[in-house]
């Protein structure tokens, strides 16, 4: 059985995977560091700004998992669009349930 993948492409792919791994690891350490520094040093301050940073960091991790680990970055563009476009409905769901959640909070206050 002949090899399907030449050596140069192989080394490039392996390097890309380890690069993505290091980025994800660094971002995770950053997130946990943020959460713990709030807990130990700024406990009585609001957490909202830190939360925004942590959500952005998680979205970055998600991008690297989907693009590199799941190899979606290297697929056809039309295939990428087919898989990501339906996620637009989630934007609506997040907005709708955020509004509803804050309304429930006002009801009990």
């Amino acid at each position: 059985m002949s090899s399907h993948l030449d050596d140069a492409t192989y080394h490039k792919q392996v390097a890309a995977i380890w690069r993505a791994t290091i980025i994800i690891a660094v971002v995770t350490v950053f997130e946990v560091g943020l959460a713990l520094s709030h807990y130990f040093f700024f406990y009585h301050h609001p957490k909202a700004i830190i939360n925004v940073f942590m959500v952005l960091a998680t979205l970055m991790k998600a991008f690297y998992i989907i693009a590199e680990f799941m190899h979606l970055k290297y697929e056809y563009r039309s295939f990428i669009i087919i898989l990501t476009l339906p996620l637009i409905f989630l934007v609506w769901l997040i907005i709708a349930l955020s509004v509803e959640g804050t309304f429930w909070l006002r009801l009990i206050q």
């Binding site: 993948l5 943020l34 807990y39 697929e75 339906p86 509803e100 804050t102």
Partner: protein, 251 residues
Amino acid sequence: MAELLDENVISEHITLPAPNNNEGGEDTPFKVSYGKTMMWFFLLSDAFTFTGFLIAYGAIRMSKTWWPDPNVVFAGMPFLHGVNVPLGLVSIMTTILILSSVFVVRAVIEGHRMNQKGVAFWLFLGILGGVAFLGCQAWEWSHLIHDGMTPFYNVYHAGPEGETIKLALAEKAKTPVSPGPPMFGGSFFGITGFHGLHVSIGVVMNIVALIKTLNGTYQRRGHYEMVEKFGLYWHFVDLVWVFVFLFFYLI
């Protein structure tokens, strides 16, 4: 007359191209095989299930005036009884699951090279990671259940200054507390449990792939696409965990 009956010949000047033989559905319009495309679409639908759960959890959490602090609730460590390590165990779990995902990517790449031993080696490491993750989760669950947490009752209550106190400790110290939201337990056990179920299924899939790799089934078939399909599922489990980690432990 026989020429006119041929459906490809419209007139003596115009002839349609001969039909190709794609009726069986072998065509791959995105250069992605049928199996991989279908795995992607399943994962898209599964992503909607998980985001539905997570967004509902977010709405419930937003509707509460108080929510237990994850740094207090998730501070237990195996083998370190009574020592508080905020987010310690869950950081280890995240590392294990991400590394396991990386190992499976390495198995997929070795599959492209038809390197049977390489695929088996990395798949084995990936399975070890999955099993280790499930072990940590089982410990965390049993720890919470031992404390008295159920899907319908939350043992973490709000202290006088909004701090998070376990009910047993508050009773011992005679601290006045107001009850914490019961949905804390419900959403935690529900969503991490559903994720854990996915991890368990993924581990079984990877074990099947490992056995078939060792038997040489994929080597004889000429490609390791099944490892790729199971790999996609395994990375999705990792992807979901990244969000569960954010919404349950960090925020």
